[in-house]
């Protein structure tokens, strides 16, 4: 257990590992899905799988916003970015996500004005500074990130900035979880709920998992101790025959979420009837569209985009990784044709993606395990 020494409180880490062993029924194989890419990262980075008994398996979920963007939407982004009047802005991670024929990084090399921004506020600043250009922000992310886009759009309106628009790809976390529960591929015992999304939406939206599907949820922080404690809380619920939403990350996540953030989301966005997710297909009411009231800032209305649905590359098994059906290393192209330097699938692009996290950390632990 060498990794325990990296815990904030190594003794607590050891105690939790012991407690989990005690709680786990040896006759049952537990499958616990961690929804958030940040958890996946911690699990691989700290080798938490090695601390758990063999019959407690962590399964990676769909909570990496970069990973779930389908190829067709990247193509639409490229189409907008290649227009001469456009300054196209996006987060660094999105630069390397492959479209059908290129990435935004390629488009930039070929002369498109693509700029990486840290914040949508920086995209708005570019619009302010370049009144004769059209500045478009490629908005991605779950409820954690969407309020930032919404506030930026409200700000643009207040300032009367007319050359700023948003290509909106924001998604919501509940519909894909429901889709997973309806999927016959997967049998899960419970969920580690996402920490940062929950600071915005609170704990209540996850109530459908115990209510409709009899699956307990523990909203978890990101430190190794947090993840271990959350697994422990989940197994305790299962052992005691309880099934509810619990919040391990109370020091950051209020039960009610953030009312300010929910208010700006409701002001600017409405649910799309359906939205395509990479590997998961179309999921109803899972994406955010810009409300008619803010249509003047909607890049999809300002520019005509191809809007063509593109099938995922055949070799790529991101869909199965995102659903937790296979582990990253079980994908045919993992680590060979698909690496963080030359990703085929989105899960290898973002460092929060299960494949990249496994490639960077997990495989070394596994190699060590296989050797010993």
């Amino acid at each position: 257990m060498r990794f325990v020494s990296e815990f904030r409180n190594p003794e607590l880490g050891r105690a939790l590992a012991h407690q989990i062993r005690e709680l786990a029924d040896p006759g049952h194989h537990y499958k616990v899905m961690e929804v958030c890419g940040g958890h996946t990262h911690s699990i691989y980075k700290y080798g938490l799988e090695d601390l758990l008994p063999d019959n407690v398996e962590l399964v990676h979920g769909p909570g990496c916003p970069v990973c779930v963007i389908p190829m067709g939407r990247v193509d639409d982004a490229l189409d907008i970015a290649r227009r001469p009047e456009v300054i196209f802005t996006c987060f660094g991670d999105m630069m390397r996500v492959p479209g059908s024929d290129a990435t935004l990084l390629h488009a930039k090399a070929e002369g498109a004005d693509v700029r990486m921004v840290y914040s949508p506020l920086d995209a708005l600043r570019l619009a302010r500074e370049n009144p004769d250009r059209q500045v478009v922000f490629f908005a991605v992310g779950f409820e954690t990130t969407a309020p930032s886009t919404a506030l930026t759009m409200i700000r643009a309106r207040a300032e009367g900035i007319t050359n700023f628009s948003v290509f909106c790809n924001h998604v919501t976390i509940v519909p894909p979880l429901r889709a997973l529960m309806e999927s016959p591929d997967l049998r899960l015992d419970g969920f580690l709920g996402p920490g940062h999304v929950s600071t915005v939406v609170g704990a209540r939206p996850f109530g459908f998992l115990p209510a409709d599907y009899k699956k307990p949820v523990v909203i978890s922080g990101f430190e190794p101790t947090d993840v271990m404690q959350s697994v422990c809380m989940l197994l305790t619920q299962l052992a005691e025959g309880r099934c509810e939403v619990e919040n391990q990350y109370t020091r950051v996540v209020p039960w009610e979420g953030n009312p300010n953030a929910m208010r700006v989301l409701a002001e600017v966005f409405a649910l799309r009837p359906h939205f395509e997710w990479r590997g998961l297909g179309f999921i109803s009411q899972s994406g955010l569209a810009i409300r008619d009231d803010y249509a003047d800032q909607d890049a999809e209305q300002r520019f005509t985009v191809p809007g063509v649905r593109v099938a995922d590359p055949k070799a790529c098994q991101c869909g199965e990784v995102l659903k937790g059906v296979i582990k990253p290393y079980e994908c045919k192209v993992f680590g060979s044709a698909c690496t963080p330097e030359t990703p085929i699938g989105t899960c290898m692009v973002s460092s929060e993606g299960a494949c990249a996290a496994y490639y960077n950390f997990g495989r070394f632990n596994r190699e060590k395990q296989l050797v010993s």
Binding site: E6, R8, G37, G38, H41, K45, C64, P65, V66, F91, G92, D93, M116, V117, Y118, S119, P120, L121, D122, V140, G141, T144, T145, P147, S148, L151, R155, H196, T199, V200, F222, E223, R251, V252, V253, P254, N258, N260, A261, V264, S350, S351, E352
Partner: protein, 92 residues
């Protein structure tokens, strides 16, 4: 983009616009704090907040800030990359 990094409010720069100067691991950046503002509970200089893509998402205590920062520093390259992006956004 997925990281939320602890920062300490240095000063409220434009209260009406919800903007504050926040020290994020040594980089001072204009940050929107209106999501964590409420009637009579606005953030003050010295407060710690979790910053995600230029917006404060929640107010945290100093102990939590220090622990989270340590976790992020542990990440290595990924955290360095995010900090470089924040630095570039300030210099731009």
């Amino acid at each position: 983009m997925c990281l939320a990094i602890p920062g300490q409010v240095v000063e409220i720069t434009a209260a009406d616009d919800g903007l504050a100067l926040v020290d994020i691991a040594g980089v001072r950046r204009s940050t929107n704090v209106s999501l964590v503002d409420g009637p009579g509970q606005g953030v003050q200089p010295g407060d710690w907040v979790l910053v995600h893509v230029g917006f404060a998402m929640s107010v945290i205590d100093e102990h939590e800030a220090a622990a989270t920062l340590r976790l992020l520093q542990d990440m290595g390259e990924e955290f360095e990359l995010e900090m470089a992006e924040i630095r570039d956004s300030v210099d731009a």
